[in-house]
């Protein structure tokens, strides 16, 4: 028990002293997550809207596939992305292996089904009379899309938060695609795994506290935005 308490005490020291190794991992995590969340929201919200809004043959099948992808194992995504961006892979020439961009690609694949599925659910639960109301006020198709997204903003916000939580806490993709390279692609989660293996609990706990802080900020933002919405 003592070593845990010691680890927590040391963690605060590391964070307060601005330990460069710790903050490098935090910065790498923020960079990769920002890229992946931007991509997954830009692609996922329109796709989720279409999935929730349109009725087309095979919709149930598409929905089942998307729901299945919600539980994709991160190591499996890491494996597939690794195979594609390694030197022997079809995207090998772009030199994405062991880069933050490579990690972001994997994390986008991880977050995309979450954004699509939860956005589709949010759009499906919109009031049926929204569309005729907007048409009756003279809205074009694009204006209907933008207004519907705004009306479903709380559900889409929850989709974004859930996806970012999944991205921030994943280890498999960062480890396999990023390679856990110090000062470069070492993220919070891969650093925790490494430091724990080395017996460096203080750094591990410090990074864990940063993750908790990020989770708190996200949760606080969500409740604030929910009140506003």
């Amino acid at each position: 028990m003592d070593f845990i308490l010691e680890g927590i005490a040391k963690a605060f020291v590391l964070l307060l002293q601005g330990d460069p190794e710790t903050y490098s991992a935090v910065w790498a995590t923020v960079q990769a997550a920002s890229m992946s969340m931007t991509a997954s929201l830009l692609v996922g919200i329109p796709l989720g809207y279409l999935l929730g809004y349109l009725n087309f043959p095979g919709k149930k099948g598409v929905r089942t596939v998307v729901d299945t992808l919600l539980s994709l194992p991160t190591v499996f995504i890491g494996l597939i992305v690794y195979a594609f961006i390694s030197n022997r892979g079809p995207l090998g020439e772009f030199g994405l292996l062991f880069t933050l961009t490579g990690i972001a690609i994997g994390q986008t694949i991880l977050a995309l089904p979450v954004v699509i599925a939860l956005t589709a659910t949010a759009v499906e639960s919109l009031d049926r009379s929204l569309r005729p109301t907007l048409i009756s006020l003279g809205a074009t198709r694009m204006q209907i899309f933008l207004t519907s997204v705004r009306e479903a903003r709380l559900g889409i916000l929850i989709a974004a938060i859930t996806a970012s939580a999944r991205v921030l806490t994943e280890v498999g993709i960062s480890m396999m695609v990023g390679g856990n390279i110090k000062w470069h692609t070492r993220t919070i989660t891969t650093a925790i795994a490494l430091e724990t293996n080395k017996g460096e609990f203080a750094t591990g706990i410090a990074l864990g506290l940063v993750l908790l802080a990020i989770a708190f900020v996200i949760s606080f933002s969500l409740s604030f935005l929910r009140r506003r919405a």
Partner: protein, 337 residues
Amino acid sequence: MWPLLRLRNVRHNYNGRTVLDIAELSVSAGTITGLAGPNGSGKSTLLKILSLAARCTSGTVYLRNRPVLPFDPEAHRRISLLPQEAYLLRRTVFDNISYGLKIRGQKNQFRDSVAAALELVGLDPSFAGRFWNQLSGGEAQRVALAARLALKPDCLLLDEPTASVDMESARCIRRAILLARREWGTTLIIASHNQSWLDDLCDTIIYLYNGRILECSLENVLLGPWLQNNRREFYKELADGQFIHVPPPPHPDSSAVIASAVLKLSGAPSGSSRTLTGTVSGIFFDKHFTEPRIHIVCGDHRFVACVPDMNLNGGDLLPGRTVTLSYQPEDISWLEK
């Protein structure tokens, strides 16, 4: 002068069933047209098609003799629909009313337009700051109407505008739409179950039944099923034990209609006519009819008969009096399934 809106050979199917089938319908500019009919008769579908909120399965909608489709940019700026349960955006009243103006690219004068629209529907301009969830049902309906009136549409279609609102809101809605017609010449098309409201407000009333326009009003509709006695006559028994006899129906469940003009108030049957005994429940005078209309309750049915003014003089048709209705079974027509 072309009619403002015209439907030609319009048919609309839903789940493989025809819910609307109209060969021809014209609505003149500046008029008030009422749509009457029971639930499922196609009133809301017709409003959606006329307002271009839905595309009909086949047929053509004309706006001033120009064929138009949903999302026609010009048509959408001229026509607006107020649905039965109007949806308010999850924003303030101000944002809801200014939404249509914003998407039309108007950048200024929102505040004045919103305040004027609110006043038109009898709401104080201070309502503009309220959120959608701070309104009562009647206030929400009036805000939704204000959002449409702010656009000054050429044609405003209203689906049961007073069905779920209080009397004060109903009065404000009526005043606002009449003002819109007077000020801007807005054509009004109103679907309602409230026959007396329509009678009072409308220049023309269109009666719908099973998606088709009827040539007569929807009074005196007799729903099936029909039974057959051992003389092979078809009949229906009323709650008070009287029988209504009809000619052979096209289907045992068909609905029959007796035009109010062919119901006679007389003492005794003559020739092949049949009679029913009932109690007068009211006398109504209506601008659409030259003669007063007498409401007579027979068992669980209410019949309407037209009588010349002079027949009222004797007092025999005052409410509460017992009268005899006579009709010729051949005058009964059948509504198409």
